[in-house]
């Protein structure tokens, strides 16, 4: 009988971690639907990016207020996980505050005290975040693409974190009361700079009631953490894990350097080579189906771009600096990332159901992202620069433009004119290449 809590705990833990792993594997499978990228270059710079941008939050603090609040929540989240380790050991073995018996008292007290302070800071951060979203109504959280689920998602995460922190502090407060009553199981351990202020509320409660409060808070706290872990998969909050790989795979060359399509290079070389025999038998290895140029659906995008779609926190920093969006155009780089994820999830569900992807008469282009959005981009890189987790919304826009132009010849008319001019006159305007030097003699 006495082992029932331990067994229940182990079952909850296994279920929580099991379901989470199941979903993470789905994410990995979906990301792998994209085109492979080689990221074996620039290893040291990639690691330094991870340390600076992901661990060091260097891009978050560009905006100091949310940056600082985010650091509270982030550091709190990471450090308080040491406490979760203790909770897990206690849960499995039925011990209580097991680390206090292993660690020197001073260190243990210091740790618990710092968890409490961090929990308090997380609480402050989260409450202010909530205020910014719901009372101050910062513009970037109220954009067109933030209606419905994205808006609720943002708030649910904040409620989750508030509740978890309150449970943690309540648990500690009840524990203190029990410690001071000298209840057998509750060893004297820890130092409680924050929860000591909750203790007076428990004055006069019986030992039994206190134990119920302590146990309930303990159980709800750990079950809440497991639930939160599994909520990630359905939420924009995945960034707490994916930010790290995403930054690793992020850009290591100047932002102005767009990739050159190798498939095009081969053809252009052929066309320009005067010795090439157009009637020659094609190479053996060139017989594979001609590559599709650009992207019309998620499978045409790269694994990095798809990873980015799962990593996006929907913070809207990209959209808030986008010159097209700021001047009322339909384009929003955040929406590009959200659409990519939504479509990828749809494709994933299709695979879950059919075992493999069955065409569903839908694609990313038109069904999610409209040409009007794509054509509004000035390729200014502001979105790329602003993203705190190194996502590149612009690269998806570029790939889709390539599809529109090279597969569908569907560029806006004026651009077709400019391109014809480049082709014929070597300049986007209808001037003769022979006149290129005229400026020299003009005054």
């Amino acid at each position: 009988m006495q082992y029932i809590p331990n067994i229940l705990f182990i079952i909850a833990l296994a279920a929580g971690i099991g379901y989470f792993t199941f979903n993470i594997r789905k994410i990995i499978r979906n990301i792998k639907l994209g085109q492979k990228v080689d990221a074996s270059d620039h290893k040291s710079q990639r690691w330094s990016n991870v340390f600076r941008i992901a661990l060091g939050q260097s891009k978050m603090v560009v905006r100091p207020i949310p940056g600082l609040l985010h650091i509270f929540v982030y550091v709190g989240f990471v450090i308080i996980n040491i406490e979760v380790l203790e909770i897990i050991i206690d849960g499995i073995f039925g011990t209580h505050r097991v680390l206090s018996t292993v660690l020197p008292t001073g260190l243990y007290n210091f740790l618990i005290a710092s968890f409490e302070i961090l929990a308090f800071l997380v609480l402050v951060g989260v409450i202010l975040f909530w205020t910014r979203r719901n009372i101050q109504k910062l513009k970037r959280f109220w954009a067109r693409e933030m209606k419905g689920w994205p808006k609720n998602d943002g708030n649910i995460i904040l409620y989750f974190e508030m509740v978890l922190m309150i449970l943690f502090l309540t648990m500690n407060a009840a524990d203190q009361s029990l410690q001071s009553l000298g209840v057998a199981h509750y060893v004297e351990a820890g130092s409680f700079p924050i929860s000591q202020f909750i203790v007076p509320f428990f004055d006069g409660l019986s030992e039994g009631t206190l134990m119920v409060i302590e146990r309930s808070a303990w159980w709800l706290h750990i079950l809440g953490i497991l639930a939160f872990l599994n909520y990630l998969y359905f939420s924009k909050h995945l960034h707490i894990l994916l930010a790290f790989p995403n930054v690793y795979f992020g850009r290591v060359v100047p932002q102005g350097k767009f990739k050159n399509l190798a498939s095009v290079t081969a053809e252009v070389k052929m066309m320009m080579d005067p010795d090439a025999d157009p009637f020659a038998a094609p190479d053996e290895d060139a017989t594979e189906a001609p590559a599709k140029f650009g992207a019309s659906d998620v499978m045409d995008l790269s694994t990095t771009q798809l990873l980015g779609a799962y990593t996006c926190t929907e913070c809207g920093r990209c959209t808030s600096v986008c010159p097209a969006n700021m001047t009322g155009k339909l384009l929003s780089p955040r929406k590009i990332m959200m659409d990519t994820r939504d479509r990828l999830e749809e494709v994933g569900r299709n695979i879950d159901k059919n075992g493999e992807f069955k065409p569903d008469d839908k694609q990313l282009l038109n069904d999610y992202i409209l040409p009007e959005e794509l054509w509004a981009c000035t390729t200014c890189n502001a979105c790329v620069e602003a993203c705190p987790v190194s996502i590149e919304p612009m690269s998806i826009i570029m790939d889709m433009r390539q599809y529109l132009v090279m597969e569908q010849s569907a560029a806006p008319q004026e651009l077709n004119t400019a391109m014809t001019n480049i082709e014929n006159n070597g300049a986007p305007w209808p001037y003769n290449q022979q006149d290129r030097l005229n400026w020299m003699d003009e005054n």
């Binding site: 560009v62 100047p254 932002q255 102005g256 350097k257 767009f258 050159n260 095009v264 053809e267 252009v268 066309m271 320009m272 140029f293 600096v321 010159p323 097209a324 700021m326 001047t327 009322g328 155009k329 339909l330 384009l331 054509w375 509004a376 000035t378 390729t379 200014c380 890189n381 502001a382 790329v384 620069e385 602003a386 570029m398 433009r401 390539q402 599809y403 529109l404 132009v405 090279m406 560029a411 806006p412 004026e414 651009l415 004119t417 400019a418 391109m419 480049i422 082709e423 070597g426 300049a427 986007p428 305007w429 001037y431 290449q433 022979q434 006149d435 290129r436 030097l437 400026w439 003009e442």
Partner: protein, 254 residues
């Protein structure tokens, strides 16, 4: 350049003028100002002239990779044919494309934006810049996307402005957070999508907030967009748009 080649010589640097610098009336003034500075500093330079062709940036950013690579390879063939090693350009788009996207296609050169080049001339003592008529004037600098964010160069143009002894007043959005003028990504050649404002007008308003007398920039496309923006705001009287090369040349009364 053909003349240099005929004499079997190689210039110190090739000036890639670019389409705007060759054909756009306003941008041609930048070209001429820069050439004056090159001459003054006794730089041995050449241009491709009628052998130059669009670097391909607008085609690439419009999504036409074919046309881009055709343009790139045509230019690379010419440049490599002459054995060019070092290129300077007054256009951040040429600068970016030739410097970043040509190497993989076989065109490897040292490429500099004209503000970087001028800065290096100053450092080597081959050119002198003094404030002259710009001394103490309130001037704001509009960062071209393809010089700034795309290639991380924010300081060279500001250094030159400092040498001109101007009072540099930054817009709220500057350097890595600078706002685009609206021309990039081939937008220059088409109307904007429906919205509630033109990007160049929004950017001009930001410049007006600084109460600067001159918007300095380093890109012929930014030049066109900002000039139009100033016109749209009816502010030509007290707000000018100038390229840094023009400022240096006119400070010197060249």
């Amino acid at each position: 350049m053909a003349e240099y080649a005929a004499q079997g010589k190689l210039p110190e640097v090739l000036f890639f003028v670019g389409c705007a610098g060759s054909f756009d009336d306003r941008a041609k003034k930048i070209t001429k100002a820069f050439v004056k500075l090159l001459n003054k500093a006794n730089i041995d330079f050449a241009v491709l002239g009628t052998e130059e062709s669009c670097n391909g940036d607008p085609a690439k950013r419009a999504g036409n990779e074919f046309l881009f690579q055709m343009q790139a390879m045509t230019n690379i063939e010419v440049l490599n044919g002459y054995g060019i090693k070092k290129i300077v350009t007054t256009c951040p788009h040429c600068f970016n494309t030739i410097g970043n996207e040509y190497p993989e296609l076989g065109g490897k050169y040292e490429v500099m934006h004209h503000t970087q080049f001028l800065k290096s001339l100053l450092k080597e003592g081959r050119l002198k810049v003094e404030g002259g008529k710009f001394k103490g004037k309130k001037i704001t600098f509009h960062d071209p996307c393809y010089l700034g964010r795309a290639n991380g160069e924010y300081e060279a143009p500001r250094n030159l402005l400092e040498k001109l002894e101007v009072e540099l007043v930054e817009m709220k959005r500057n350097k890595s957070n600078g706002m685009c003028c609206g021309a990039g990504g081939a937008q220059m050649f088409k109307d904007a999508e429906p919205g509630d404002k033109e990007i160049n007008v929004a950017r001009t308003e930001q410049a007006q907030e600084t109460s600067a007398e001159i918007i300095a920039t380093g890109c012929p496309f930014c030049m066109v967009m900002m000039t139009d923006g100033v016109k749209a705001k009816n502010a030509e009287e007290n707000l000018q748009v100038m390229d840094i090369a023009e400022m240096i040349a006119s400070a010197d009364d060249l």
